[in-house]
Amino acid sequence: MTDQNTSVGSTLTVQRVRSGLARRYRLERWFRRFGMMAVALGLSFVLVLFASIGSNGISAFHQGYVRLDITLDEKTLDPAGSRDPEVIGKASYRTLVRDTLFDQFPEVTSRSDKRELTGLLSNGADFMVRDQVMENPGLVGTTHSFWVPVDDEIDMLMKGYIDRNVPEADRRVSDRMIGWVDQLEKGGYLESRFNTLFFTNGDSRDAELAGVRGALAGSMLTLVVTLLLSFPIGVATAVYLEEMAPKNRITDFIEVNINNLAAVPSIVFGLLGLAVFINFFGMPRSAPLVGGLVLTLMTLPTIIIASRAALKAVPPSIRQAALAVGASPLQTITHHVLPLALPGMLTGTIIGMAQALGETAPLLMIGMIAFIVDVPQTVTDPSTVLPVQIFLWADAPERAFVEKTSAAIMVLLGFLALMNIVAVLLRKRFETRW
C-alpha cells in the first residue's frame, strides 16, 4: 500500500494491459464481423423467401377473362315482360353463354368438340352472367358484352406456365384449344384483368374461382374470439398471480404449469378442443368459435408470461407511492400499475396473436380443414382459416393452385403486418414515460 509499491505495480500493470490490448480488440472485431454476418444471413433468407413467394404469387392477382357478346333475348329470359327477378333468375344462362361461344366458332359442330370448346370457359361463367343481369334487369332485350373468367388451364396457358412445345399428350391443353385461344386473342376477346374474385370468393374446386375471402373471414372471426378471451383472461391471471396471490405452494405449482403449457405442442391443444369443446360441450365442428377457444388455450401462457414480466418491470416505488396516499390495492393496480404495464402486455399479446394467426395443427383437429365454399358470417358458421387454406391449396393437384398458394401466403403476411402495425400504434398510445 506504500507509494513505492504502487509505482512498481503500475508500470507492471501498464505493461501487462498493453500486451493484452491487441488481442482484446481483435476479439471484438471478430465478434462484430460475426454479428454482421449473422444479420446478413438472416436478411438474405428473408429476402429469398419473399422473392420466391412474390414471384410465384404475383400472377395470381390477375386472371384471364374472355369477352362474350351475349344477346339477352327477351323471349327466352322474360317471356312475360314482367322483369320479375325470380323469372329472370330462372332462365338458362348456361345455354346462352354456350351458344354465344358456339356462334363465335361456327366450324365446331360435333358434340364432343363443343364440349371441348366450352372447356375454355370457367364453370362459373354462366352464374356470373346471371348475377350481372339480375343486378341490372335493363340489359334484357339488348346485346351486352360480358367479361367472364377463362378456365384455370387456359389462364395458365395465357400466363405462359404451359409450354406449347411439349408434345400434346403431355400437356393439359390440346392443340385445338390453343388454336381457339389464339384466335380469340387475335380478335381482342381475351384480356388479363385484376383478379377481384380472389378477394371476394370463398374456396372453390375451380382454381379460377377460388378466393381467400372465406379463409380471411374465418381467420378474423377466430382471432376476434381468441383476442376477446385470451387478453382479459391472460391479464387478469397475470395481475392476480403477480400482485395479489400469496406466495405458497399452490401458486408455485400454478406458475410451473403455466410455464410448461407454453411448451406444449399445439396439436395437443387441438385434441383437447376436440374432446372438450366438441365432444363434451357439443359445439359445432369447423367453427371459428371452437378454433378461437383452442387458440385461446394456446396463446394464454404466452400472454400470461409476458404480462407478468411487464408487471414485474413496473418500479415498486410507484406501488408504494399509491399505497402510501391510501389507494386500495385494486386502485393501485388499475390506476398506476396496469397503465405502466400495458405496453409490455400488448407486446405479449401481439406475439400470441401472431402465433395464433399462423397456427394450423390444432385447427385440423377440430375440423377447420374442411372444404368450405361459403364465407362465414358468424362464429358458429363452418369456416377455415388462412394457414389451413394455404395448406389445402398447396395440396391441390391443379397447376393454377401453385400461384394461389403463394398469393394466399402474401395475404396472410399482409394481414399479420396490418395486425402488428395496429398493435404497435396502440402500444405507442398507451406508452407513458417515467
Binding site: S317, R319, L323, A324, Q331
Partner: protein
Amino acid sequence: MKTDKLQQAGNSSVETESKKTKTTVPGPGSKRTVGNIKAADPVMSATDVNVYYGDKQAIRNISLEIGKNEVVAMIGPSGCGKSTFLRCFNRMNDTIEICRVEGDIRLDNEDIYGKDMDVVLLRARVGMVFQKPNPFPKSIYENVAYGPRIHGLTANRTELDEVVQTSLEKAGLWEEVKDRLDQPGTGLSGGQQQRLCIARAIAVSPDVILMDEPCSALDPIATARIEDLIDELRKNYAIAIVTHSMQQAARVSQRTAYFHMGELIEVGATEQVFTNPRTKLTEDYITGRFG
C-alpha cells in the same frame, strides 16, 4: 474492520447495561432504552413493537411516541431497523409478505393493527414520503389531486383545484410549477419531485407525515429547501423522519431517537442527544466513530 465494529458494539452494549441502572426508564419499552419516549402531545404511540422478517427479528421491543407539532428524527447505522420501524406507523410493512409486526401502535388511541382499523383510512391519515422521489408518471396536477380524488375529499373541480394549490404552496412548489401543472411530474428536478411527493402526501391532510430519508437522493441546496419545508410543516403535522445525516437530524428535529441493531438505544431532546449523549453507543455514532 468488521470484527472491530462488532467488538465495539459488544463492548459498548455492556457499558449501556451498566449505565441503564443509573437512569430510570419511564413507561414500557425496551429495557435498554435510555431517555424519555414520551411526547408532549402524542398523536401516535408505539408500545413494545417487535418486527420479524421471517425468522429474523428486525425490531426488538421498541416503544416511541410521535407528538403533535414536533419532528422526531430517527438516526442510526444502516440496517438498524429505523426504516422498518417507521413503516410500521402506516402499515407499509403489510406489503412485505414475510414481515410480521407485533406490539401495539396507536393513532389517537386507536389500535392501527386492530380489527376496526382500515388500512386505507390509516394511510389517508398517516402520509409517507420516500427515500427516492416517486411521483406518478402523470401530470403535476394529477399527482397532487390523486389522493383527494380517490378519497372523495372534494366535491367539485374548484375545490380540488384549491386543494392542489394549497398543497403545492405548503410544499413550496407552487411558484415554480403554477404555469405547467399539466406537465409530467417526472419531468421536474429531483428536489422538485421530492417536494411534489410531499405536496401529494399533505393533499389528503394527514395527521402524521412519515419521511424515510427524504433528502438522501438530493443535492445540498434541494436538501436545505426540504429541511425548511419540514420545519414549516411542523406547525400543522406530526412528523417522523428517518435520516442518515446527523446534521439534518440536529437541524430539523426536536427529539432524536438513536437506533442500533433493532433496538432503540436512546431518545431525548435533540440538543441533549447531540451535545450530551447518555450512552456510549450514541456517543460513538454521533462522533463518527462508527456507522
